[in-house]
């Protein structure tokens, strides 16, 4: 079975600026992959290349085995794409736009559409141009999922949504995801929400992929280590990240955590605690490390 997304050596340059560099990534079918990164990291550029909206300078990408740059209309019957600033036809009402979009997809599920419409509480009679940003995002989501795509690509779906709208949107997405078996690839800055949605996490920094692994393994691998009762100026163990010592207390990040006993063996006289890290903490740690390395180089 083809992976949902397969990216090989994807590179995109804008004149002298390299937005994405040699990105290689695979998202298995049925997996929800969060694509994280700071502003300007290359997330949107990557997604545009994935959707065939932008030609890569080098490399190639495949969606369910289809070359992104050669996607045919029939391929888009299996792929849903939502971007934060996608244009919707403002002169149509919500119902008219849904009806128009419905005609594009033979596999459109009318019952599912009505169910989602109720769930999202979309105002069917209202013109699209007067919808709020949250309502537009929900509408775009509805228009992208009602035909049961095998792969859903979302570019900043939560951007601009207020917390309540974001919660509603996320809840809707989670409920729908629970019902469907599809692959999901989405970029976002709302890292807290990712943990509820993603199976896999990819982190990109300045166009270079830094992390790409399942969320549980990532969280398993990262630990914040606190060691109490160490002598002054204790040297952190090899591989310790962002180490700092205050008196007899040493703390650092272990990005290759296996088990607490191994760390305890390094500090036999001290009390060792290995604290789990949230995805947000991991992301911030990753960002700081990247910056430090960049400064050092």
């Amino acid at each position: 079975m083809n992976p949902a997304i397969e990216i090989r050596g994807l590179t995109r340059r804008f004149r002298k600026q390299e937005a994405v560099h040699d990105l290689t990534l695979t998202v298995p079918a049925g997996c929800a992959c969060a694509f994280l990164g700071r502003n300007g990291a290359g997330k949107t550029t990557t997604i545009k290349m994935l959707a065939g909206l932008l030609r890569p300078t080098q490399g190639e990408s495949f969606l369910h085995g289809c070359d992104s740059q050669k996607l045919q209309p029939v391929d888009w019957q299996r792929i849903g794409y939502v971007s934060e600033n996608q244009e919707l036809y403002g002169w149509l009402t919500v119902a008219e736009l849904i009806a128009f979009t419905r005609a594009l997809y033979p596999a459109w599920d009318l019952a599912f559409e009505q169910e989602i419409t109720r769930m999202l509480e979309l105002p069917l009679a209202r013109k699209v141009r007067v919808l709020s940003r949250g309502e537009r995002a929900k509408l775009a989501l509805l228009l992208t999922i009602a035909f049961h795509p095998l792969l859903l690509i979302l570019d900043e779906p939560f951007a601009g949504l207020d917390p309540l709208a974001r919660e509603e949107f996320l809840t809707s997405l989670l409920e729908i995801t629970a019902q469907q078996e599809w692959s999901l690839f989405f970029s976002t800055h709302e890292i807290d929400d990712v943990e509820r949605l993603a199976d896999q996490v990819a982190i990109i920094e300045e166009g270079v992929l830094q992390v790409n692994e399942p969320l549980d393994r990532l969280q398993q691998r990262f630990r914040e280590i606190e060691v109490e009762g160490v002598p002054a100026r204790t040297t952190p163990p090899p591989g310790a990240l962002l180490a700092k010592q205050a008196g007899s207390r040493l703390s650092y990040i272990d990005a290759a955590f296996t088990d607490e006993a191994a760390i305890q063996a390094l500090f036999p006289a001290a009390r060792v605690r290995a604290l789990p890290m949230s995805l947000k903490q991991i992301f911030l740690t990753q960002a700081k490390i990247f910056q430090l390395r960049k400064r050092a180089s």
């Binding site: 959707a51 030609r55 244009e87 005609a103 594009l104």
Partner: protein, 608 residues
């Protein structure tokens, strides 16, 4: 082709411009001015509603193109299962039904209101001729719409506004010309060739624009590619439209000094239509210049009745006037309208000029080649009408020179001959110059252009509207060699001034089946009816008279306008198929040219 899907796309696109479509149809339905366009003039009718329709069509094309911009990642349809071709097809359908159809219909309505006596095939032709240009313009607008986000909406709209006005003027001019040409007689083949050429040009243009637009839409993802493609296609389209030869003027480009037998067939003479280009430039059309060749022919073969003037000295007379100015400026129009009256006798150009001799004396000359008055009198002077109803005879009632229409004069309505007459009269009657007298001066000619007011069949009840007035045939009788047609309402339309010699309205009988035309004195004339209320079209003798047959002897009838191998024998069937065509003349321009009669040795005047 998924037509249900295209239907959905069509409805979506149409809805986005529904108000503009409604406005276009509304504008197309606005009654137009029924005054026919000025045939022979370069002025387009001021049909502002049609121009607005154009503008709306082009603006809508821009909007439709921008709506699903293929180069924008934000476009809704970019990631939907509809092919670019289907989208383009739907947008084209919106443009065709919403905008091109009303414009084309307005063309048809225009033509109907002009009362040109057109058949259904003319309407098909008109619409068919206009549609490619409309489509080309709209597709160009489509391309502009694609690039507009980058070059600025204001620039795009300004371009469109300009283009709308130019395009409308352009295509309507073609339509009218084409129909007029097809309705003509001897030049119909060439007219058809011209129409075919223009159709091919328009269709090629439209196809080019469409292919480029669709190609860009389908494949281009790079702004650089897009910019190059759009710029290239726009340049090609504009060059094709604006530099395409315009049939507004022409001049023959064969060797006029060659023997007549070596002249090209009049129906196949290649013209250079562009007055700005020198002779021998780009060959553009095949409108025959029979008028010009006819003049030259007459001048070369004219032998005079009494050795009066053997031939007009080409090296003395500024022939450039005929070939370079007269020919370029008016020959096409003359040819066009002459197509409606290409008889042996009728030439559709008149002159009204001033002759200034070397000794300072001036004479006013007037010639109406559709009519029958040639007059010369001292300048400044009154108009012919003011001189009296019948100033016949040399000198007439006022000092000066006159000759009025006699059969001999009018049978050879030949510009050069008129000038020869003028010269002879000047020499003989005033004694300006004899023998080797040096007579030179200049002549200021005011040409009059023919304007086709319309035509109608020779049937009782047939109506005709011109200058917002309508008149009706109430009686049409053909007996023997006479045709009497009585009208009502004619007085409201024709201001008869000082008798039939002076009025500007001319009528010719045109048989579109046989492609024959009768006109001029002795054939067709307009006059006042004896009952004082009706006005009649009187035909004093619709068959060729003996003298004219003799005149035609020695000429190849096939080269002559309106003439067939067998001289037309007008009978009832001829009349049954005939139409009355009304032609009005209007000022067409002035030209002052020098002349030099030195070396001429005119003989004694034998004027009638």
């Amino acid at each position: 082709m998924n037509f249900p899907l295209i239907g959905k796309l069509f409805r979506k696109d149409a809805r986005s411009v529904r108000w503009w479509i409604a406005l276009t149809w509304l504008l197309a339905a606005v009654p137009i001015n029924p005054v026919p366009p000025r045939f022979g003039s370069e002025e387009a009718p001021h049909d502002w509603e049609a121009s607005l329709c154009w503008l709306l069509a082009l603006m809508s094309a821009v909007r439709l193109a921008q709506m699903d911009d293929p180069c924008s990642a934000k476009g809704f349809m970019r990631t939907r299962p509809a092919s670019p071709w289907q989208q383009v097809f739907a947008k084209c359908a919106v443009l065709a039904i919403g905008f091109i159809a009303p414009i084309a219909l307005r063309h048809a309505v225009n033509l109907t209101s002009f009362r040109l006596g057109l058949g259904w095939d003319d309407y098909v032709r008109a619409v068919g001729l206009a549609a490619p240009f409309v489509a080309a313009a709209v597709f160009i607008a489509f391309l502009v719409g694609l690039v507009a986000p980058r070059i600025g909406y204001l620039v795009a709209v300004s371009m469109l506004l300009l283009f709308a006005l130019l395009a409308f003027r352009h295509d309507l001019t073609y339509v009218i010309q084409a129909i007029q040409l097809v309705d003509s007689t001897v030049i119909s083949d060439s007219a058809n060739a011209m129409i075919q050429r223009e159709l091919i040009a328009g269709q090629t243009l439209a196809a080019l624009a469409a292919v480029v637009a669709a190609g860009i839409y389908a494949s281009s993802r790079s702004w650089r590619q897009l910019a190059v493609a759009v710029a290239g296609s726009v340049v090609v389209a504009l060059v094709a439209i604006f530099l395409w030869p315009h049939p507004v003027a022409g001049t023959a480009d064969w060797d006029r000094t060659a023997p007549r037998s070596e002249w090209p067939d009049a129906s196949g003479v290649v013209l250079n239509w562009d007055p700005a280009s020198p002779p021998g430039g780009k060959v553009a059309s095949k409108l025959p210049v029979f008028l010009d060749s006819y003049y030259q022919n007459q001048n070369l073969v004219w032998d005079g009745d009494n050795g009066h003037v053997d031939s007009w000295p080409w090296d003395k007379w500024p022939l450039n006037m005929l070939s370079d100015w007269y020919g370029q400026k008016y020959i096409a129009w003359g040819g066009t309208v002459t197509g409606l009256s290409p008889s042996w006798y009728a030439c559709p150009v008149a002159f009204d000029g001033q002759l200034t001799l070397a000794d300072g004396r001036q004479f006013h000359s007037q010639g109406d080649w559709l009519g029958h008055t040639y007059a010369v009198w001292p300048w400044p002077s009154q108009s012919a009408g003011e001189l009296g109803p019948n100033p016949a005879g040399v000198g007439g009632s006022v000092p000066g020179l006159w000759w009025s229409g006699t059969s001999e004069d009018v049978e050879e309505p030949n510009f050069a001959r008129v000038m020869a007459k003028l010269y002879n009269y000047a020499v003989d009657d005033i004694g300006l110059a004899t023998g080797d007298a040096k007579v030179s001066g200049q002549v200021t000619l005011e040409f009059r252009r023919p304007v086709l007011l319309g035509s109608l069949p020779l049937k009782v009840g047939a109506t005709f509207t011109a200058n917002r007035k309508r008149f009706t045939i109430v009686q049409a009788d053909f007996r023997g060699q006479h045709l009497d047609v009585f009208f009502t309402g004619l007085e409201a339309m024709i201001p008869l001034r000082g008798g039939h010699h002076a009025h500007s309205l001319q009528a010719v009988l045109y048989n579109p089946v046989r492609h024959q035309t009768l006109s001029g004195p002795g054939a067709v004339d307009l006059g006042r009816g004896s009952n004082g209320d009706d006005y009649l079209l009187w035909n004093g003798g619709v068959s060729w008279d003996k003298e004219s047959e003799e005149d035609m002897a020695g000429h190849d009838p096939a080269r002559l306008p309106g003439a067939s191998a067998n001289h037309p024998l007008v009978d009832e069937s001829w009349i049954r198929d005939a139409r009355i065509c009304f032609i009005e003349s209007e000022a067409g321009g002035r030209k002052t040219v020098p002349f030099d009669f030195s070396g001429l040795t005119p003989e004694t005047d034998t004027k009638n």
